[in-house]
Symmetry: D2
Subunit: 345 residues, 4 copies
């Protein structure tokens, strides 16, 4: 039985508690939140959980095996570091950390201590993303040529992170999960409509060595909610619409091929549009799948689907996007050499 402590009982907290309760082989023993009102709420619904004010109490409790960190991003690093150093397995909410350096330090510690460090990129555990992964692994799409994602709605303006750090982790984690290639560079532009300088609309292009291009349109200021991703292979293409109830994924037997017509001295393109296939996808709750993966990997030592390396990839792209935005959209290379991080455990 893995004893879990959850730090942070905000918007996402109740969902975490509920799903870790439902997961196999674990018990939610403690929850920490500095806000008394939140603790009151917790006690009413889950009287069996020990509610504490300070994260330290969880981290230092010898009965706790694993810590789930569901605080604002800025606190992820310090809490995760302390928990790892205390020998706890750690799950952090997305995005993993506020910087690449922080993420690399955490990975380094977890490795040295032989602990599981995992990031809650919940979308990877949805039936839709699992089905897309399966289609891609079966090579049904051919070579992936582009990814085009739109995630917009009238959303809560965050006061600590911009719209890319808030919304794009979902799509970037899916990108990393589905595409077997490391990003070379990014371009990003954003705009803020408030006086705090935090972008509420931003556009991000991620460029890959093979010519694959991935584009992300994120906004907190759209009157309509859109959650759509196109994945274009040279054999087939996928439309992933997360707002659809029964047709989340459509696989289009659509493509084009080109060849040089030497006589006419130009490139000719042949188009093909065929049937559309809408595979049934599992509707198991993604968060429960994620919780089960976390607990199971603690027990088995296996690598989780949503690994810390994938979490690091996401932070690398986000960090590069911030630099690009500050430089009016110029191309910023994503540093992928594994920088040796000096951290003495």
């Amino acid at each position: 039985m893995v004893n879990v402590g959850i730090i942070g009982y905000g918007y996402w907290g109740p969902n975490l508690v509920r799903n870790f309760f439902a997961a196999d082989g674990c018990y939610v023993k403690m929850v920490a939140d500095a806000r008394l009102g939140r603790l009151e709420q917790l006690k009413k619904v889950f009287p069996s959980i020990l509610a504490v004010k300070s994260a330290e109490e969880i981290i230092k409790n010898p009965d706790i095996d694993a810590v789930v960190i569901a605080t604002p991003v800025s606190a992820h690093f310090e809490l995760a570091k302390k928990a790892l150093l205390q020998g706890k397995h750690v799950l952090v909410e997305k995005p993993m950390t506020a910087s690449v350096e922080e993420a690399e330090i955490l990975i380094n510690i977890a490795e040295q201590k032989g602990l599981l460090l995992m990031v809650d990129h919940t979308f990877l555990y949805t039936g839709a993303v699992q089905k897309m992964r399966q289609l891609i692994n079966n090579n049904e799409l051919g070579n992936i040529k582009y990814v085009d994602s739109t995630r917009i709605n009238l959303g809560l303006f965050q006061s600590d992170i911009n719209v890319l750090w808030d919304l794009a982790p979902h799509d970037l984690s899916i990108l990393s999960y589905l595409v077997d290639e490391t990003a070379y560079s990014v371009n990003a532009r954003g705009i803020t409509h408030t006086c705090n300088g935090i972008e509420n609309i931003a556009y991000l292009t991620v460029n890959f060595p093979s010519g694959l291009i991935a584009h992300f349109n994120c906004s907190w200021t759209s009157p309509v909610k859109v959650r759509m991703m196109l994945i274009g292979g040279d054999e087939k293409m996928i439309l992933y619409n997360d707002l659809e109830n029964t047709e989340k994924i459509k696989v289009y037997d659509t493509g084009y091929t080109y060849y040089n017509d030497e006589e006419r001295q130009q490139v000719l393109v042949d188009y093909r549009t065929g049937d559309i296939h809408v595979p049934k996808v599992s509707t198991t709750e993604a968060l429960l799948n994620m919780a089960n993966d976390f607990i199971s990997c603690i027990q088995t030592g296996n690598k989780p689907e949503s690994s810390c390396n994938l979490g690091l990839e996401v932070v690398k792209i986000l960090e590069a996007s911030t630099i690009s935005i500050k430089n009016q959209g110029r191309e910023v290379v994503v540093e992928n050499q594994s920088t040796p991080v000096a951290f003495n455990v």
Copy 2:
């Protein structure tokens, strides 16, 4: 009666002939196309029109008052210049020319000769765009904060121009028509999936001095067709979906305001979502409205809705986008100082 000659009888030609026939006060006298097959087709359907092989025959014909140029972009400048110098009014298809310099020369000649020079940005004449213009002019949207446009489908790969020059003129003309501000700079990234180096996917951001940001997502390689534009004001927002039959424009009574909460030392945002209004829009054929505007402005000397200056704006942004794409997406300032163009009529 304005006698019209049309140069180029390709994909768009029959539509032009049909609508200029239907327009008031004009007569389609000649059509030129170098391809015999196209001329055969013309004669079968419109036996009354004089079909000629060479554009020169139209330009030099003293009976012709106005010339419509519907050729590939690369030929626009030479043909329009010759026609203007021969004293003909000129309508060119979009985009106006292949460069800013060419567009400025044409405008210069037209002014000196007192002739009408107009660009066929057909979308400006749709009921939807007219209705949006009216809503904006009535200040229903408040200050426009962003424009976000997606125009993608499995489209014909052009062999002379990239996807932005092919598709974005529609959206850029709408942008110029609706927004009363001149673009400051652009960023653009694109990718080609063929060996001819012509981008088939491209993303363009247009930045304005006021902080307005406009974004354009263009692709010839999407399995689904999308024709969607969001226009976000701080009072109301519009969703313009050109593929909708009866609900092309939705006006959302949606917005947000922010204020500094000094006590909590942060920016607070208030959200508002209210009713949606779907105004009825005129369904008159836009191309006919355009033809009528061209003929009427010839007769009255008025300025058309789709003026040559708007056409020039579009080319300026396109030209800057090409430079940005070649420079990996770095910001390129749109030159808006009216460069004195030396052209001696």
Copy 3:
């Protein structure tokens, strides 16, 4: 404080418990279900509730003020009768009873004993239906000429009632709530695809003295889920799509008028299509509103929105539909004379 006992803890039971807990001025004291497994489930989630096996224990408990009956329809009458005779206020799930006679007896007892008898037609408490009622009361639609409802999906085949008794109560209650006229007759046809003779597809037409026609298409065997109702007035028309998240109600400024053209000796019709208005509707949970109405009417003696007379109307139409189906769709008059029901309290 109104002490509530709930009889039946099946599919709908947990929702009732949760919402009566959240309602003002009441306390969920007891729940009865003959199935031990269901009681186990209840105790796990709501340990404070007294879980009993027999409905009698609730009905006879002097601490209980109000009884909620959430059993199969066939048990409604006996349980409600007993509870009323024991002086309890009663809420029954829809449809109210299995026959008109039963419904009339219950109403009779409740009146004699001065108790509240209410039917849980939850839909009446949705923001959408409340908004439509308001639009109709403001006379925005003009005279209502037709109602056309489709409620189909791949649904659970019930083993005790047919698809009309299962699905149509929702739509019939909305009809009764919105239309200020009593049904004259019905026609219904249905078909069973199993060997138990219970219709899984049925079509019901309800005819009104004014010429208003209402039609109901119900099926448990559709591959797609549809929840759609058209309400056509001679001034405006409403499309109510319950599956829409943000556009549940669309008000069409659409209509037609006719006049006799005596010269041409025929009827001429003028059409009108104008703007569409999508009013914002409240998203408060309907079941909570219903629970609050029940408790509040117990306390104040007011008549609830979802009254027992409305519940009776629904049963009258259902009973007539059953007769029509058995008679191959012939017209069956809905008996609306209030039959004196002999019941000696």
Copy 4:
């Protein structure tokens, strides 16, 4: 070369002329219409066609091989009869005639004279209906259990026929084409909102011996346009939405099976929902396919897809529906015994 004469140049006339011009092996020689304005229009667009005022001129012209009758329904019989008796092949618009008797007489004459008599049920020639036929013939759906069709919009109120005679022929022809069973009876209810007694809303149920039920919802008074048909088999089900551009047909791998559970003494139903398949359908213009079928069957003597017997089936159901409406919806048996029709050629 088959010389064609077209009688009636109203709304549908220009489409017929255009497509018979495009069809193989035929020539549109004459068009008749009593309205001078219509003839003027014809001459402008098709100067080569001989425009005449009287249908007689076409019927009596020895150069005409085939007559197309595109007049109001009431004139179909007399014109078709005369044309057949003059030895012309005949195509009549849908519905074939105003009564079963008329249709049977025409079929009788055509048989005796060895002429082709065909009804223009254009929908049978669409890619969507052809694809559905193919799926059904391949037995992909299993046994067809129900057909449910909705065809509503704000439509032109006809002054000679009610909404069923106007709209249902499309769906009834599809029904007859897809389902290999003859209707046993119908029930229909309708309502008129004008003073001319012609129903503008009507509901029709068609009952088949096997238990198959088909339902048709037709209205000229809906604010939204719906063109939807569900075809439910016990293996798979089809959603046919004619307003979709690229997804007209969706094939659902959805079904249910039932069995008697003797222990529990009830019927148990097992549900199944699987993938959805959206087959590509041909987008060739249906009217052109129809014209080609007509001409080709004249030349070869083959039976057309849209045969006169199918046209007769449609009229039989329509005639029975009229009787049912006049009898408040009671079941009316469709007479299918081939009544010997006395007609002496």
